[in-house]
């Protein structure tokens, strides 16, 4: 199985989730993160003191999937999360050796 980690822009999560569901994903986990990269940061201004905020709000999606679905799902993210503007984010794929469903103790792809 593979763990697909996607860092995306905020406020498009709903679209990406829908695309993932269509691609066969049954579960995923999201969290708030902040990202630093090529996209230049916001400027914030407090009483005339200007701060360039390098870390921008991003959303992280983590999703463990069967090997054979991996490419499909990556493609679904690439499509639904891309606006073509800098800062759209990244997808990282890595290997997962085992998965358990806590409720039942099931393992492997059955546990997804």
């Amino acid at each position: 199985m593979k763990l697909i980690t996607a860092i995306i822009k905020p406020y498009i999560l709903e679209d990406v989730r829908t695309a993932l569901s269509e691609a066969g994903v049954q579960g995923l986990t999201v969290s708030e993160v902040k990202g630093f990269g090529r996209q230049k940061g916001h400027t914030e201004m407090y009483r005339g003191a200007e701060y360039v905020v390098d870390f921008l709000p991003k959303v992280k999606i983590e999703c463990v999937v069967p090997d054979d679905l991996t490419q499909n799902i990556v493609d679904a993210i690439l499509q639904s999360a891309s606006s073509g503007k800098v800062g759209d984010g990244k997808i990282f794929v890595s290997e997962v050796s085992e998965v358990y469903r806590i409720r039942t103790g099931e393992t492997g792809e059955d546990a997804l």
């Binding site: 916001h42 914030e44 201004m45």
Partner: protein, 435 residues
Amino acid sequence: MLYKSIQKYLLSFGFLFFGATSALIAQELNSGDNAWLMTSTALVLFMTLPGLAAFYSGLVSQRNVLSVLMHCFVICCVVTVMWVLFGYGMTFGETIGGYMGSIGPAFLASVSLDSMAGTYPETTFIMFQLTFAIITPALIVGAFVERVAFKGLILFVIGWMILVYFPVAHWVWGGGWLGDIGYRDFAGGAVVHATAGVAAIVFARYLGPRKGFPRTPMPPHNLPLTVLGAGMLWVGWFGFNGGSALASDGAASMAILVTHISASVAALTWIGIEWLKFGKPSVLGLVTGMVAGLATITPASGFVGPLGGFMIGIIGGAGCFYATQIVKRRFEIDDSLDVFPVHGIGGILGLLFTSVFSSEQFGGLGLDEGVSILDQLHIQLLGTVSVIVWTLIISYVLIKLIDQLVGIRVSEQDEIDGLDITTHDERGYNLDNLR
């Protein structure tokens, strides 16, 4: 100088009796009346800042919280300047045919320490009325949050005060034609709530919905902040309605009593309906019902008794509840924080039912001599429809104009990123350690 119309205003409530204009000026200072009116002034300002600002800003997304606070505060500042330059004159200056007041010298230059308005200084009257002029456009904010352009908003407020608020307030309270025909609007059902509500729906309609509405959930980002604001509104409303008696007497505290009753009953009505309809009562429902009850009792608060307050609470709570459902669901208008269904409908219902519950039959303090409930209802209908139509037309034309001039809505990207960062270069919260 004392604007003659104040006298008319005062007379129109029958609180005072004067032999001649000069009698008004000669009237002695009553320090208790003045204390109550200055307190009421503080209470009504408190309703807007921070009351309404908190109430509204808690309801939007966290990326727009500051913009809403900004709107409420900047409106207060802009309206104050207008008031001092010409707004007070336009509202309470000697009437020009019943339609508009004559503007006095700028900076209220004609007002001195000794100018009196009844039993209290004219400066007190000026400040008290100013707080009403402030809260009215601030109420409209709820309609266009999360997408309005800041420059357009400011122009709108300026134009709208000149073309809608000052005239309507003059008609009703400033010696204008509505006061003359016996229109009853004790503390601003028409002047404040109906005008704000109607402008709100026009604005929301023109602007279009927020991106994602109504499919995407847009839950409040900070409901405790909203509830805090609600509490402040409730307390402040004692000054709004109680202060409108313009004296520290039984009329003032009766107004407070019926106001309080209506708020409580409307809040219970709202959550009662929720409980029956959806299975659960909610705190947002409770405070929305409360505001509905307060808006609805406002025009009636100087004319009805406890029973009237009770009935108006039920009417306001239920009426505004269903109005909320219809506007958002049926018409799919994104009047985002429900200004029209709560304040507009509330104010209008209150204006109409004032005729009924003013009557002594229904525990009211009485209609004018020789005026029946039906007579009064006619007057209330005529006045209310006039105010609605005027507000509707002028607001629409004004918004359209401003949109052409400077634009009234931010870009889609700015809307996604949030107004706080894109319009004001600030963020509401920095609660994490990520620095």
